[in-house]
C-alpha cells in the first residue's frame, strides 16, 4: 500500500482532464480500459447520444495521468423546463409566455453521472481507485468548465450511491470546500431474489397485498380476451407501437425530464446486447393488440446479476382492466427466478406501492452547486445576500417605528412625570418593563450592524432607494396585520416605487461603492 501511495504522490501532479463532446472521440477500447465492471457503459451512452434527444447535450470527462487515461465520467447538460413540472393550467400560461420569452422558467443545468440509470458511476481504473479523491477533483473542475460553457446555474453530481465505497468516499471528500451541498436523491428500489418461485415471493408479502395480487392474477385469467406476454431482444417490427405506448405513459406522468425518441428504442433493440423487451398483447378476434411494454436491462456487476426495470409503457384504458403494472411486475419476478438473477431493480418513484411489494432502498445522493448570479455576485444589487440585508434593514426599520409609536404612546401622556424625581423613577421602571422599549433598543443595535453591511457592497445612492422596497412591503403588512385599507392612488405610488427599484437594480455597474470591493 505504501508503495502505491508513494507512486501516486509522484503522479498526482500530472493529473489533467479533457472534455469530449462525443463518446466516439474516446473510442470503445479506451473506454473499456477504465469502465470495467459497471452496468451501463459504452453502448448505453452511445445509444443515448445518437438518439437525438431534444435538449440534452453530452460531455465526457476523461482524466489522464500523463498520457494515460485513468478515469472517465459521463456528463450532460439539460434544460429543465418548469412548464413540464406544473399543472396543465399553469403549464398553458407558461407556454404562452414562452412564445414571447422562450427562456422563461427554463433552467439549464449540468450533471455529472448517468442520465438515466440505476445509479451514477464513474469509471476509475482499479489501481487509481485509492486516489479517487484527486480524480473527482479533476471531474469537479471539468464540470465547472462545462457549466461555464453552457451558462448553467446548477452543477450536480447526480445519483451517487453510498454503497460504492471508494467512489463515494472520494467524491464526498473531493467536493468539500467547493461549494457543493449533499442532498438525498430519490432512492432506487430493489427486490432481492432469494425465492424459488413467484408463489414463494408472494408469501413474503403482507396478507392483504398477497390477496390483492392473487385476486388481480385471477381476474386477468378470467377475462374473455387472454393476455399474452412475449419476450424479445429485437423489436424493430413493433417500434411504432412501443413508442406510441411510451408517449402515452409520458403524457400521463406528472414528472418529466427528457423525452426519448424512437431512435433511442431502436438503439436498445439493435445495439444493446443486454436489453430485454417484454411485450404485452391482448388477443381479440384473432388480432393481437399491444397494450403494454416493459424494457429491462440485464447487468452483471460485482458478481451479482441484476435485472433493471427501465421503462414501462401502458395503454391506460386497458392496462387497468388487465392490472398490467402488477402483471408485468410479477412476470419480471418470475423471469428473475428462472434466470437466477440476484436483484430485481425497480426505477425511481412510487415508493409506497413498491414498499408494499417488498422493495428495499438503494440510497442515492446528489451533490449540488448553485452558481446563479443572484446568489453569487455580491457586487450586484440583485445579489441575494445584499437583498436579504436590505429586507432585514427594512424589517428592523418597520419594527423600530412600530415600537417607537407604542413607546411614545406610553411616554407622552406621562411627560410631566419627568418633573418629579420619584415619578420619573417610576416612569423609567415602567419603561424598562415595557416591550416596545426593548424592541427599540434591539432594532437600533441590529440596524447598526446590518445597514453598514449593505453600504459595504453598494453606493449610498443605490442602497438607499433600494431600501424603498419597504414602501411596497409596509402597506402589505399594514393591510395584513393592522387592517388598514390601501387606496388605488396609493397602489399607483407603490407601482412607481417598484418601477424605480427595478430600473435601479438593473443598472449594470454600481460604480464607486464597489471600488472598495475591487481594492480588497
Amino acid at each position: 500500500m505504501m508503495l502505491v501511495n508513494m507512486q501516486l504522490e509522484k503522479t498526482q501532479k500530472h493529473y489533467h482532464w479533457r472534455r469530449y463532446s462525443s463518446i466516439d472521440k474516446i473510442g470503445e477500447a479506451q473506454w473499456n480500459s477504465v469502465w470495467t465492471s459497471q452496468s451501463e457503459g459504452w453502448d448505453f451512452y452511445r445509444i443515448y447520444e445518437n438518439a437525438e434527444v431534444e435538449g440534452v447535450k453530452f460531455s465526457y470527462f476523461c482524466v489522464y495521468c500523463g498520457d494515460e487515461l485513468i478515469a472517465i465520467a459521463p456528463a450532460f447538460a439539460i434544460c429543465f423546463n418548469l412548464e413540464l413540472g406544473v399543472s396543465e393550467k399553469a403549464g398553458h400560461w407558461i407556454r404562452q409566455v414562452q412564445k414571447i420569452f422562450p427562456k422563461f422558467l427554463v433552467f439549464k443545468s449540468v450533471f455529472c453521472g448517468a442520465i438515466n440509470s440505476e445509479r451514477s458511476r464513474c469509471g476509475i481504473r482499479g489501481d487509481f481507485l485509492v486516489d479517487s479523491e484527486n480524480i473527482f477533483k479533476q471531474f469537479a473542475s471539468a464540470l465547472e468548465d462545462f457549466r461555464r460553457e453552457e451558462g448553467a446555474w446548477l452543477a450536480v453530481f447526480k445519483d451517487f450511491c453510498s454503497e460504492d465505497d471508494a467512489e463515494f468516499f472520494g467524491l464526498s471528500r473531493a467536493l468539500k470546500g467547493l461549494g457543493y451541498r449533499m442532498t438525498a436523491g430519490l432512492p432506487n428500489k430493489y427486490i432481492p431474489i432469494h425465492f424459488a418461485s413467484v408463489e414463494e415471493y408472494l408469501k413474503t408479502l403482507s396478507s392483504s397485498t398477497r390477496k390483492n395480487l392473487q385476486r388481480k392474477m385471477k381476474d386477468v385469467h378470467s377475462l374473455k380476451s387472454p393476455l399474452v406476454v412475449e419476450e424479445y431482444r429485437r423489436i424493430d417490427g413493433y417500434i411504432d407501437q412501443i413508442y406510441d405506448l411510451y408517449e402515452k405513459t409520458y403524457r400521463h406522468s406528472n414528472h418529466h425530464f427528457e423525452k426519448l425518441t424512437k431512435k433511442y428504442f431502436y438503439g436498445y433493440s439493435r445495439e444493446l446486447k443486454n436489453a430485454i423487451f417484454f411485450l404485452y398483447f391482448v388477443q381479440n378476434d384473432g388480432q393481437k393488440k399491444m397494450i403494454g411494454f416493459n424494457l429491462c436491462t440485464l447487468h452483471r456487476d460485482k458478481n451479482e446479476l441484476r435485472l433493471f426495470d427501465k421503462y414501462i409503457g401502458l395503454d391506460y384504458e386497458l392496462s387497468i382492466e388487465y392490472s398490467l403494472y402488477f402483471i408485468s411486475f410479477l412476470k419480471n419476478i418470475e423471469w428473475c427466478v428462472a434466470n437466477k438473477v440476484n436483484k430485481y431493480v425497480l426505477n425511481q418513484g412510487g415508493d409506497e406501492l413498491k414498499n408494499r411489494l417488498g422493495a428495499r432502498d438503494i440510497p442515492l445522493w446528489n451533490f449540488t452547486k448553485v452558481s446563479c448570479p443572484l446568489f453569487k455576485n455580491l457586487k450586484s444589487p440583485f445579489s441575494l445576500r445584499v437583498l436579504s440585508l436590505i429586507f432585514l434593514t427594512d424589517f428592523v426599520q418597520f419594527l423600530l417605528l412600530m415600537s417607537l409609536k407604542k413607546l411614545t404612546e406610553l411616554l407622552v401622556p406621562r411627560f410631566t412625570d419627568f418633573l418629579n424625581i420619584s415619578s420619573a423613577l417610576n416612569l423609567f421602571v415602567d419603561l424598562f418593563q415595557s416591550w416596545p422599549f426593548w424592541v427599540v433598543i434591539f432594532s437600533m443595535l441590529t440596524s447598526l450592524i446590518v445597514w453598514p453591511a449593505v453600504l459595504s457592497f453598494l453606493e449610498l445612492s443605490v442602497a438607499f432607494p433600494l431600501a424603498a422596497i419597504s414602501y411596497v412591503i409596509v402597506p402589505f403588512l399594514s393591510v395584513l396585520f393592522l387592517n388598514e385599507k390601501i387606496s388605488g392612488i396609493r397602489w399607483f405610488g407603490i407601482l412607481l416605487v417598484v418601477v424605480g427599484i427595478a430600473i435601479l437594480a438593473k443598472k449594470p455597474e454600481n460604480g464607486k461603492a464597489n471600488q472598495m470591493g475591487k481594492d480588497l
Binding site: L448, S461, S487, G493, G500, I501, I503, K512, L520
Partner: protein, 143 residues
C-alpha cells in the same frame, strides 16, 4: 399637548430627512474608510467594530438618534403608514448628498429611478383619503 398640522408634520419630516442624510453620508464615509466587505457574519461584526472607532460614525449615529426622536414625536400624531410614506424628500436629499459629498456616479437612469421612487412615495404620502389620524381627528376625538 402640542398638535401638528399636516404641513408641520411635512416640515418636521424634512428636518428628519436632512438629519438622516447627514447620518447616512457619515456612515457611508465611515464604511468606506473601514475597508471591510461584510460578506460573512464575522466581517459584519468587524465592520461594526471598526465603525465604532470612527468619529464620523458617532456623528452619524447622533444625527440618526435625533431624527429618531423627532420621528417619535411625529409618530404620536399620525399613523405609521402615513408617516412612513412622508419621506419622499429623503431620497432627493440622499441623492444630492451622495453626488456632492461622496462623489457617486449618476447617470440619467439613476436619476429617473430616484425621481420615480420619490414621486411614488410622494403620491403615497399625499393620498388624502388615507390620512386617518391627522391632528384634527385627534383633537375632535379628545373633545
Amino acid at each position: 399637548m402640542i398638535h401638528f398640522s399636516a404641513f408641520e408634520i411635512l416640515g418636521i419630516a424634512c428636518v428628519i430627512s436632512l438629519l438622516d442624510t447627514v447620518s447616512q453620508i457619515c456612515f457611508k464615509k465611515a464604511v468606506d474608510e473601514a475597508k471591510v466587505q461584510a460578506d460573512s457574519f464575522k466581517n459584519m461584526l468587524l465592520l461594526t467594530w471598526r465603525l465604532l472607532s470612527q468619529l464620523r460614525s458617532w456623528v452619524g449615529m447622533w444625527c440618526g438618534l435625533l431624527g429618531l426622536f423627532l420621528w417619535g414625536i411625529v409618530l404620536f400624531q399620525a399613523d405609521v403608514n402615513f408617516i412612513f410614506s412622508l419621506s419622499a424628500v429623503h431620497f432627493i436629499f440622499i441623492a444630492i448628498g451622495a453626488k456632492l459629498f461622496l462623489r457617486e456616479s449618476f447617470d440619467r437612469k439613476k436619476w429617473i429611478a430616484t425621481i420615480l421612487i420619490a414621486l411614488g412615495i410622494f403620491i403615497i404620502s399625499f393620498d388624502a383619503d388615507h390620512q386617518p389620524h391627522s391632528s384634527d381627528n385627534i383633537s375632535s376625538a379628545e373633545n
